[in-house]
Amino acid sequence: MKYIDVEQVNKNMSPRIFKNNLAKSIFFVAAIFGLLVLITLIYRVFSDSIGWIDINFLMSKLSTDAERAGIFGAIMGTVWLMVVVAPVTIFLGVGTAIYLEEYAKKGRVRNIIQTNISNLAGVPSVVFGILGLTVFVRAMGLGNIILAGGLTMALLILPIVVVASQEAIRAVPQFLREASYGMGATKWQTIKNIVLPAAIPGISTGVILSLSRAIGETAPLVVIGIPALIIPIPDSVFDKFTIMPMQIYYWTIDSALVDEYANLAAATIVILLIILFLMNSIAIIIRNKFQKRF
């Protein structure tokens, strides 16, 4: 006696295969949708920017005249911002990670700090803008200068750097620490000579990725109040400034008034994308180069 009815099986065969193919198609469309949107976006941006990116665009000051306008001020603004953000985040971020991984005893205090850091990573960037406005711009009276913007951005990316550095430090095998302690090294000597050198590739990957996030971030600086039009090129951290995403934002809004501003915005986006692409590539190269050495 057979339980499987061959006729029944054959009757069901084609709907089953149809469903199988349908499922495949649905998931393919889902996967391709994001890609199509991205390609459209990039196509639009690149086609709008054609003819607008040249050495004058990169090296000129901002101007209301679209033909003469350049983003040198915004580029320098971004560079100066990084001059503040990078050292502050590296010091605070890596310092926090070292404390949590190497010094802090497992317990309440460590859990509280750890939970806070995870929560901070989930706070919307505009909230960091409000924090920056309250603390750095107003309470400390810095005004909307590079230093205030940089400190705000540093706080924004701090949790990412802390978590990435913690992971890098945790990935250093315990047996290397034991070998160092076993020869009478102090904790600091072990961290300085063994843990940090082994963790630096991971830490730098995290730092570069988070800096590239800071370069593209706009919301906190909108809250701090970056001027819409700023002509002088900043030359210290105490100057007022603008950065590329802000420039894109204002040009996009003003393209209702002057059509060419849309092209300027597109050209700036292309430059920004190239910079971000380069930074992410460096991070990937570092990560691949130093993977698995033990």
Binding site: A179, S180, G182, M183, R293
Partner: protein, 274 residues
């Protein structure tokens, strides 16, 4: 010392102290050592005198506390959270479990070789020079001499003298372990603790490390934890048998392996368990 106070009758046997009677000093004197990992009582009332310029082997089944005991001797065990100890371990007459005893100072005198070869991801030269450097030696000439002396001491100089700048991870596992022993010699220790130093090595490399231990015991006191009873029998002068956190028997190696006094020791060394 009051031998009668020991809970172990074998331990007071005259045979067990033959070498001691020939004049070797006690380097480590453990009295009533207890150790807990949280709630787990891992070492129970350990009483164990260890003599200088001998190889002392510690044998026993997995989880018997032999590695824990070894790591207590240089306080490496403190890296495990929630460890508590009671009793005393006197190293050259100073209690190392005393809070005022500087652990860095102890570890300068007591080197350690681990189960898995653990060279630093640095050059062979920098591996050996690591210890001297952390203790403040900066002079290049002195460092060169220490590196050569240590590598010669570990009988690996001829194999690596032309590749001192190469990463230590380019060596074979057995060579890496001898580099680790050389690295340990570079701090000019008094005692060398070895935690199953050959368990990750092939038989040929094991033989080389055993030969090395044989040579080292002229100048150093060596305490070796081993899973391998033949190894303990081959290289050690005294053997301590640990079981469930207690010292069951401690005697001259020949004596312990030929005429074990305790039934459990006999069962273990004849392979009935473990």
């Amino acid at each position: 010392m009051d031998k009668e106070s020991s809970s172990l009758n074998q331990y007071s046997s005259a045979n067990a102290f033959k070498n001691a009677d020939t004049g070797n000093n006690i380097v480590y004197d453990t009295q009533d050592l207890n150790l807990w990992y949280g709630q787990t009582h891992a070492l129970k009332n350990i009483i164990l005198p260890i003599y200088e310029q001998e190889v002392t082997a510690i044998i026993g089944p997995s989880g018997c506390g032999k590695s824990t005991y070894l790591k207590t001797l240089n306080r490496m065990v403190e890296l495990v959270p929630g460890v508590r100890t009671s009793g005393t371990i006197k190293y050259r007459n100073k209690d190392i479990l005393d809070k005022s005893f500087k652990v860095e100072e102890l570890r300068t005198k007591v080197g350690m070789v681990f189960q898995k070869p653990n060279p630093f991801p640095k050059s062979i030269y920098d591996n050996i020079a690591y210890g001297p450097r952390i203790h403040g030696i900066r002079n290049k000439k002195v460092l060169d001499q220490i590196v050569e002396k240590s590598l010669r001491g570990a009988y690996i100089w001829d194999e690596v003298k032309d590749r001192l700048k190469e990463n230590a991870y380019s060596l074979s596992g057995g060579q890496q372990q001898r580099i680790c022993i050389a690295r340990c010699l570079a701090i000019e220790p008094d005692v060398i603790l070895m935690d199953e130093p050959t368990s990750a090595l092939d038989p040929k490399s094991t033989l080389k490390v055993e030969e090395l231990i044989e040579k080292l015991k002229k100048d150093y006191s060596i305490i070796i934890v081993t899973h391998n009873m033949q190894q303990a029998a081959r290289i050690s002068d005294k053997t301590a048998f640990f079981l469930n956190g207690e010292v069951i028997e401690y005697a001259d190696t020949n004596f312990l392996f030929s005429t074990p006094k305790d039934k459990r020791t006999e069962d273990y060394i004849t392979g009935r368990f473990g």
